[in-house]
Symmetry: C2
Subunit: 459 residues, 2 copies
């Protein structure tokens, strides 16, 4: 669907050069980091404030033009693709840290601020924002997709760290959700509803976030295990023991090989855990000792402590580089990246079953995971355009999700629904998916906000 | 509105003696612990399972009869009053602990299980459910009202401790929200939407809750302060210092007097903090020392450590008895109980302003609070039927809420909206309140679920 000349003229009058319909910009905003593909949006806009976002949505409503939020384009399930055409609303020029309130452990930001930019701003305050999905995503995008990542086991996900939002609704109305208080029981939790709604209920134009004190001491380590099962069972035992892990990440032998190739490390090509402890000096030492004892029970060996900040940064840069490193295992490949989350007591069986299934399908598909939450990902490497491989990868992803549901888990722990997981929503939610559709229709009756995503099609 | 004979016959056929229209039962389910009053419901039903709840709601939908959930009747803002008549749906016979899963730190319960009953069941497991609003409320009611209380500063509110729900919708459809996984990004957070919806979106028939390990060591203490301001500033400093308080409660001089009268204690009639520390032996000792040093800076004196479980239980029984103890300060009184929640940095000024306002109005109105969250309550004692006093108390409550909003806080931290705070919802949420109404209409188009509460009247 192209945008009418009248609508384009209105947008141009509002935004001037901050509206683009060039092929280059449209293509930039029509891409995806994974295998998902769609035609590019018809136009790209770069509003600078809430008033402009509201004006854009009023124009879009009047002309029934789809509007798709765009942060940094790092989502993995095709969330930001313009599957029904329309306008890509890029928040990168709304990148102001509005107010840091250290005494309340809070910050208010515009949605285009990235998590790394925020943490640079916070450095001098002794505070930090912990949610870390790996990519240097925008905070608006992270809220919209309920991002989590390596530190969620300790600090929670975006659900736990967004206190309040300013949101522009489909018709251009602006609402404020939540407050600066630590808790509230003043009606429906609209903040929680917006977090994870993937741009289908509104465009986030401001966020108030919880901050945390920088830990006095940080210690990180990497440790090899004889088998996948032993590594994962070590995680379950660690979490059940109550050790307050700040991070506890699993990477399989394939990822260890990928790291060695791309980062020049010399890890044994075995499953590994990468862990981090935050706290007072004494408690970090005692937590690390407790973890070491559990790891030894499961055959953990070759502990490598990253005691300096540089060594730790290298460790987590390597972990965050798992995706490109894995892609490089098969030159030219793209990936079906899929994630599930299961109760801790079912984690080992779920990871083993996924690995066995990938092997049986004959694909290369390393597994990594934020396993302290029961959350793991398979990076299924396929040849672009190879339909047989794509179909096999989708079969694997579907079976991972079905097995997660069988044990009371969820079809996605953090990657979200986008277009990739819609077909599985009924299996997880039953009539609950229709309820999501009813909420969507109530808030966006014309269906202009990120259509074709998350909710049922009828809506 | 009376219930038609046809509807009554259908309910009787379904429930037999578990339907009552006697005046005694109707009155029992038409009461409120505070000043809010309404005519009793037309009937009371005691379903035993989800199937019966669904059948009740189908009958209620067919005949457009209001259905109001009833847990233990301990809400403070008139949530469970049948302001438009209808059926009081009492969940007390749905009191089964369905499954404890210690390896996942989870339990699944029916909604009529009370928090004390659950913790008795859990005792042998080494786990506990921390949310503690004081009253021995039902877990279904606690979820429906987003309860929190003394331990929220450490363990969070019901928002943080409900992983999943089974909910019967207005039309009798049954949905399951959330999962047993620690996190999910599979669509809108329907669990979060239901928690705190006060029975206006559905009837909760099953809950999956997060459990926590019983701390190795618990230490509690009570400490007097020269002035209200110093006590509250001590709290702000303590929270900002990052000491992981398990409880940090404020009671004013009036409540200290009330305790002395009703519990036979000999507290100085000054403001007090009541604190509790949870953790390993060494960390509890060091946390308590750190708190002691901060308290001393603010003139805290007369530390009384409750080292035995019996002494601790007595301390918290006394705290939980603050409401009846305060009522006894003025024999025959009822109370306008109101709560607000503000950012920590504004807590001292907010509590002082409330105290000054109560004094200026000439009412007796002790103040208590879960101050570690910035949450405090005024218990405004009035003579039943005295309209002048009632009006004065409502003025005080409104001004407390308005001052909370002025500093970015919320009109209620934990007591909820019910009928008592509806008039303030626009002040807090603006168009967001209309959004809540739109969601309500989408899920309950006939408006049979707890009508007259939380959302705008048009809905």
């Amino acid at each position: 669907m192209a945008i009418s000349r009248e609508a384009t003229e209105k947008l141009a009058a509002l935004l001037g050069e901050r509206l683009s319909t060039t092929q280059a910009e449209r293509d930039l905003h029509g891409g995806s980091e994974t295998w998902h593909r769609a035609p590019p949006p018809d136009a790209v806009v770069w509003p600078v404030d809430t008033i402009e976002v509201a004006a854009i949505l009023r124009i879009a409503s009047a002309h029934r033009i789809p509007v798709i939020g765009w942060g940094t384009g790092t989502s993995l399930e095709g969330h930001a693709l313009a599957v029904r055409g329309g306008i890509s609303l890029d928040t990168s020029r709304m990148d102001r840290v509005i107010e840091i309130r250290p005494e309340d452990l809070q910050v208010t930001v515009q949605p285009g601020v990235t998590r790394e930019a925020l943490n640079r701003e916070l450095r001098a305050t002794g505070l930090f924002f912990p949610v870390d999905p790996g990519a240097n995503a925008s905070l608006g995008g992270m809220a919209a997709t309920r991002a989590s990542g390596t530190t969620a086991v300790r600090y929670g996900t975006m659900r736990d760290n967004v206190l309040g939002l300013e949101v522009v609704l489909a018709d251009g109305r602006v609402i404020r959700t939540g407050s600066r208080a630590a808790k509230s029981s003043a009606g429906y939790d609209l903040t929680g509803l917006m977090v994870g709604s993937e741009g289908t209920l509104g465009i986030i134009t401001e966020l108030t976030l919880r901050l945390h004190g920088q830990p006095e001491e940080v210690a990180a380590a990497v440790c090899a295990f004889p088998t996948l099962e032993e590594a994962v069972e070590c995680v379950t035992a660690t979490i059940q023991s109550g050790i307050p892990m700040a991070r506890i990440e699993f990477v399989d032998a394939g990822i260890a090989r990928a790291f060695n190739r791309s980062a020049g490390t010399h890890l044994p090509e075995q499953p590994h855990l990468m862990v981090e402890f935050h706290g007072a000096k004494t408690s970090v030492a005692s937590d690390a000792d407790s973890f070491g004892a559990i790891a030894a029970e499961f055959g953990g060996a070759g502990f490598d402590w990253a005691s300096t900040p540089e060594a730790r940064n290298q460790l987590w840069r390597m972990r965050h580089g798992a995706y490109p490193a894995a892609l490089a295992l098969r030159p030219g490949a793209t990936a079906v990246v899929t994630d599930v989350c299961v109760p801790m007591s079912h984690l080992a069986e779920a990871v083993s079953a996924a690995a066995a299934d990938i092997a049986a399908e004959g694909l290369m598909g390393p597994i990594v995971g934020h396993v302290g939450d029961g959350n793991f990902h398979a990076l299924l490497l396929i040849e672009p355009g190879n339909e047989v491989e794509l179909t096999a990868a989708k079969r694997i992803a579907t079976r991972m999700a079905e097995r997660a549901l069988d044990v009371g888990g969820t079809i996605t722990g953090e990657h979200g629904v986008g277009i990739g997981k819609r077909a599985l929503m009924t299996a997880e939610h039953g009539d609950g998916w229709q309820v999501m559709g009813a909420i969507k229709t109530a808030l966006d009756p014309l269906g202009i906000l990120n259509p074709g995503k998350l909710v049922p099609d009828a809506n």
